[in-house]
Symmetry: C2
Subunit: 468 residues, 2 copies
């Protein structure tokens, strides 16, 4: 591949400049969660649009969304070529606790192979990696082997509030055959990986209503139902003693784990007792009959994220609380219908509510799991590209979390996503001292450059709409 | 009883002045919970000591306690007479929510038969009722038929923090045959009552420790135990489906309810469905086989007063919480040993803690139930005095709460207490628009005056130490 060699050569020659640009980008404190930083989020959008133009991409624009802006750009309109959507985000997490940062979070500092700054790995470093790869193609081959649509948002860290509406409004401009997203870590250091499946999410809030106000537990203790007890009963009823969710119809549609996936996961370098030690828990626990990776990647789960009732201050207040509340989310897997899961949960809670209290259940957001077939040409192309650059076959993994854009692309544009990320799990994203390894910044750009070469050879277009 | 007639006559003639004094006393915002009001608590102590002296009692003094002051006074040292301890408190509850007060809480306002002010019924009105009765004796008969020790504290509303130490230090001066306490409501309007039993209290705090910090529920959901689930399991394990506390040895020593008490309680004007309606609960619930009064007065109970875990703010945070906590108190009945109950609870929680988390249990305060024999001469005297004034036999009741001074008097001085209170249950103590009925202020003073006449005839001294 003489062309790819030239592209890689360009990346090597321009690495220093690309790092300098990353430093510039990281100086912008584009914290989407803090209203005071809204101008910075906008500044990052403008900076990014300029960078896209400078890289040779067309139509770079900053869009209003109703919240923080979004940025788009594109390359090519050749109907004979597949069209890829590149997604990333330029907003960053807040920095608290600020005192824990060794280097100021918005004064990027390079120490050995790592650049320290808020947003380094999540996601500004990975966004610039994507742009560098395309710039390299445009400045050497003067073309990219695929049509490219680029979409960068400024609200990823606050739940992609306006993203779905934006994608719906610009569906025609953004539509393509598949998406490639660099916003995830590799499975482990030196274990390159391609993620093809994410869990979905279904949330609900539960309130148990007891007496009209907190009551004196001496005067009324024994006479009225305690909402905290009722809520505990309800929460405890949600799991059986085998770690399974004990809600009728919860597992409806859940596919059995295939032997192939089971074997693939078991071959990953994953040490349950080391993780338990790291998390400072006596041991990992969960649904019987599955490993921890299986439980977090391909089995649905239900977690209480928060609960509260009565007096939670210092000291003691001898009351029967007026109410008890819990916030619950389920992680869903392919085959589960989020609304059906929520209905099953509501039915269960109603059926198990003890006497003497009243229950209100508020279903919240719900989004399905996503899965890209492992034989999708984009997955195969990513696998080949990664193998070439890293000198080893990447692992095909799933992840337990949810990425809103992946769901939206699947739901709105029927577009499967390949998650090709080059962060490391211990690079402190969402924590103080976030950093990104410059060697992976380079290897990531090389891999993405190779990916465009591989994808041009692949029969992508036939896979359109096959995501499940 | 010509003497008593003169005493009552004195009370009638001085009623207006006594009400004016109550207005003065109520003007002092002696909120013990708020440090800014400490000078007011002290001012109320000085005011009270002056009032005791003016009433003709000896040795009226303000004492330092280490917290808010206490006030004592006395009358008589005749070894042939029984000695009574009169207890009350001059501190009051905070006033929030202040906006809910129709009249300013410290500008006493008389509307029809009621005086509105913070502390009117709890307990300044009842304290002055006690003093008026003794003043009437001293100004008519020029003696009181018993020796009297008076003890008023300024910390009742904050848990009588320094009271036990104070009573231990002054045990010799305060010791007597029985105590009479006016700090409780009657069972209902026009249902005068004498309370002879209170429940005890045992408290403990529970913490379930999970991972070292809140974890992402997508990444880790299914791999680690959720402390909120574990706490819910523990809380739910504390009761069975019959409303009984499902803790081994919890009921050890609990006496069966006698047929006599059962009948007496059933004859009280108590409407379970009216109470349910008032409390806005679908119905009253509790331990099977007992009425609501029985459950709150003579059966031990266990209540979660507060619990919390994870994210309890607005919105959603998809986490597995690092910890979950609960505050628990039990109400105890005669026969239960508070420390044994706490041990049983700790053992139970340890045994029921699910795998994957760690448990810490912190036992807290513990005090036994109190019970004054219903044939105690002071109970009989109070019954006769109340009958005379109210024209009906008072009900003998128990109460579900705990009054620290009653426990301390029982534990330290082996002194039984008679609770002879004239507040009404709907006079809003501890709430906005607290008030006290002036007709009960008058009838209370008359009853207490009659009580001293009755008690002088009773063989009290033989009962010393019989409280169980």
């Amino acid at each position: 591949m003489p062309t790819l060699t030239a592209v890689w050569d360009y990346l090597a020659r321009n690495h220093t400049r690309h790092v300098e640009e990353l430093v510039d980008f990281l100086r912008i404190p584009s914290i989407s969660a803090l209203p005071a930083h809204a101008p910075d989020v906008r500044r990052a959008a403008v900076w990014l649009a300029d960078r896209l133009t400078q890289a040779g991409l067309a139509m770079a624009r900053v869009h209003e969304t109703g919240g923080h802006p979004a940025v788009t750009a594109e390359y090519g309109n050749d109907p004979a070529k597949p069209t890829a959507l590149v997604y990333g985000h330029f907003d960053v997490q807040p920095i608290d606790p600020e005192a824990a940062w060794v280097h100021p979070p918005f004064a990027p500092t390079i120490v050995d192979d790592a650049i320290y700054a808020r947003g380094a790995s999540d996601d500004k470093g990975q966004v610039l990696m994507q742009i560098a790869a395309l710039e390299a193609w445009l400045n050497t081959a003067h073309e990219v082997p695929v049509n490219v649509r680029m979409l960068f948002e400024g609200e990823e860290e606050i739940g992609s509030v306006h993203l779905e509406a934006f994608i719906r409004r610009h569906a025609r401009d953004l539509d393509g055959d598949f998406a490639v997203i660099s916003d995830t870590p590799m499975f482990a250091r030196d274990v390159p990986s391609i993620c093809y499946g994410l869990r979905g999410l279904a949330s609900l809030d539960v309130t148990v209503h007891g007496p009209y106000q907190d009551l004196h537990s001496g005067v009324y203790g024994g006479a009225v139902a305690n909402p905290a007890h009722a809520l505990a009963h309800l929460i405890d009823s949600l799991h059986d003693s085998y770690g399974r969710v004990a809600v009728d119809h919860f597992y409806d549609g859940v596919a059995d784990l295939t032997e192939e996936e089971r074997r693939a996961f078991s071959e990953l370098p994953f040490d349950e007792s080391a993780l338990a030690e790291q998390l400072k828990v006596p041991r990992l626990v969960g649904e019987d009959g599955f490993t921890a990776l299986e439980r977090t990647w391909v089995r649905p789960t239900l977690e209480v994220n928060g609960m509260w009732s009565g007096f939670i201050g210092e000291g003691r207040k001898t009351i029967i609380p007026a109410t008890a509340q819990a916030k619950i989310t389920c992680r869903l897997v392919p085959g589960q219908h989020p609304q059906a899961v929520l209905r099953a949960l509501v039915d269960h809670l109603r059926a198990f509510c003890p006497p003497g209290v009243e229950l209100s259940v508020q279903p919240g957001e719900a989004s399905p799991a996503t899965l890209t077939p492992r034989d999708h040409p984009a997955v195969i192309a990513a696998t080949r590209a990664t193998s070439t650059v890293f000198g080893q076959t990447p692992r095909h993994i799933r992840m337990g979390g949810s990425i809103p854009v992946v769901v939206t692309l699947q739901e709105v544009l029927k577009m499967p996503s390949v998650l090709l990320g080059f962060a490391l799990p211990d690079e402190n994203f969402h924590a103080p001292n976030e950093h990104f390894h410059l060697s992976n910044f380079a290897r990531g750009a090389q891999t993405l450059a190779a990916f465009w070469a591989e994808i041009s050879d692949a029969d992508v277009m036939g896979y359109r709409g096959n995501a499940s």
